[in-house]
């Protein structure tokens, strides 16, 4: 990676709705390695849309560079394998928790990855979940437990950027702390290649997990700090 190239650079991101009205307008963002960002703004200001657009999940007009490389059809799956979007209502597939966690390993992109048994049980244990958690039917999990599964599933594939969209909204305060700690440790493990972008309505949480803030209002950046 060349020196001084941002990990992620977004230029002129614009998203329109079906009727042509602007949902996101001219968003520019530069995320350097090791940075911890938070996107703040009122409900409906476009935070989720912005995170989804950063994950390139929806069509949008944007110039997006990742490690200095433009992201396009040729490398978008690799990009998404490294820049992972974690939705507020964590998606699960049919089957037990283990099958859910192993889902990425079934994809061509991650076929060489090994199942990190020790790490998985360690993460589960830190959330107060014992071994039988892996055998539970994923449809029986609470919203918070699904969020835990989503985080572990993302960490298994060693991403570079986590896009956390209200990713702890259904967790109890103790689990929220554990969640934040695990994310922080993951970041500090390799701060020269990693970064986080959070969306959170909790002011306390924003203070804990970020050192850069983007304020979004009606789909536009109103200001950023520092």
């Amino acid at each position: 990676m060349a020196i001084n190239v941002p990990l992620l650079e977004v230029r002129q991101l614009t998203r329109k709705s079906h009727d042509g009205s602007l949902l996101l307008e001219d968003i520019n963002l530069k995320v350097e390695v090791g940075e911890r960002w938070v996107i703040s703004g009122a409900s409906g200001s476009g935070k989720t849309l912005l995170l989804r657009s950063l994950a390139m999940l929806d069509p949008a007009e944007v110039v997006l560079e990742w490690n200095g490389e433009p992201v396009g059809a040729h490398n978008v799956t690799l990009y998404r394998a490294c820049v992972i979007y974690l939705a507020q209502s964590a998606a699960i597939i049919d089957g037990d928790v283990r099958e859910n966690l192993r889902l990425p390993l079934s994809l061509t992109m991650h076929r060489d990855l090994k199942w990190p048994e020790t790490e998985v049980s360690d993460w589960c244990h830190r959330f107060g979940k014992e071994v039988d958690f892996l055998n539970r039917d994923a449809h029986d999990l609470s919203g918070g437990e699904k969020q835990i599964v989503a985080l572990i599933r993302a960490l298994i594939i060693c991403p570079q950027i986590l896009l956390l969209d209200e990713a702890t909204s259904a967790l109890d305060p103790k689990s929220v702390k554990v969640y934040e700690q695990i994310v922080e440790e993951w970041l500090q493990e390799d701060p020269n290649h990693r970064a986080t972008i959070w969306v959170s309505h909790s002011e306390d949480q924003r203070g804990r997990v970020s050192d850069h803030t983007v304020n979004l209002s009606a789909g536009k950046i109103e200001g950023s700090e520092p």
């Binding site: 999940l57 929806d58 059809a73 690799l78 490294c82 939705a87 990425p104 994809l107 992109m109």
Partner: protein, 270 residues
């Protein structure tokens, strides 16, 4: 020898619909009007097609046969997607492409390779139109069922599809289980009928040949050919329309265009 029917015989059969009418009145099903309309349409449509075929069989002209084939195929293609619950972009065009390519291909293979041109070149209309019609009728069903299932699956599995994409999966990895379920659903009716054919009922073509005095063994041979060409046509048509539709809702950026699948507006039926 083949027993022809008088118009009185047909009227007698038509009066059987009164049984349905009586049931509808007795149980207050409110179907009398619909029954009368359906009976009328059966009579009018079949009578008209009888006259049309009478004329086509008399002229035996290729341009006329092809023109009728195009009309039949277009009607099948449009009605195949006319009643499905979810609208995909360019769904009608996809249906036309799929129905044309699958039905015409298997009909051509049947006529030129299986039966052989020598056997039917003097009476092309008698062969082309019934074979094409049989394939179309079944392909239409497969496409309807397949598209219904595809829309339902893609709508219901949005979370799972986007999850796979967000973990670095390709659009095919994200969409393949929906595609598979849709194709499977489209092929179920023909598979079922292949399993019970001859055991539960004698299929139409075979019945027709037996009534016309053909030997049962000859009639069976034709029926076997028919079952296989129908199965092939249905499979090809269903796979084609499902894959074309899949392509319309996943772009080259491996994004799922969920909003492009529109729920059909609830049209009230009189």
């Amino acid at each position: 020898m083949f027993q022809t029917l008088s118009y009185f015989d047909v009227m007698l059969a038509a009066s059987l619909i009164l049984i349905n009418g009586a049931i509808s009145v007795a149980l207050k099903l409110g179907l009398e009007k619909k029954l009368a309309w359906a009976a009328l349409r059966t009579i009018v449509q079949l009578t008209l097609i009888g006259f049309v075929l009478e004329w086509i069989f008399a002229v035996q002209s290729w341009p006329v046969i092809l023109a009728i084939g195009v009309v039949m195929t277009s009607v099948a293609a449009f009605s195949a997607v006319g009643r499905v619950d979810h609208q995909f972009p360019l769904m009608r065009i996809n249906s036309v492409i799929s129905v044309f390519s699958s039905a015409w291909l298997v009909t051509a293979i049947t006529l030129f390779a299986i039966i052989g041109y020598e056997g039917w070149r003097d009476y092309p209309a008698q062969y082309v139109i019934p074979f094409l019609g049989l394939v179309l009728g079944n392909t239409l069903n497969g496409i309807s069922l397949g598209m219904d299932k595809l829309g339902d699956q893609l709508k219901r599995r949005r979370g799972e599809i986007e999850l796979i994409l967000s973990l670095g999966g390709t659009r095919w990895e994200a969409g393949r289980s929906s595609v598979r379920n849709a194709v499977r659903t489209g092929m179920i009716p023909i598979l079922n009928s292949m399993l019970v054919v001859g055991l539960v009922s004698l299929p139409g073509v075979m019945t027709g040949q037996l009534l016309a005095g053909a030997s049962p063994v000859e009639a069976v041979k034709y029926q076997i050919v028919i079952m296989f060409i129908i199965a092939a046509g249905t499979a090809m048509g269903t796979i084609s329309v499902v894959l074309l539709s899949y392509q319309r809702v996943f772009n080259s950026m491996h994004q799922f265009l969920y909003d492009e699948i529109k729920a059909k507006s609830n049209r009230r039926k009189s």
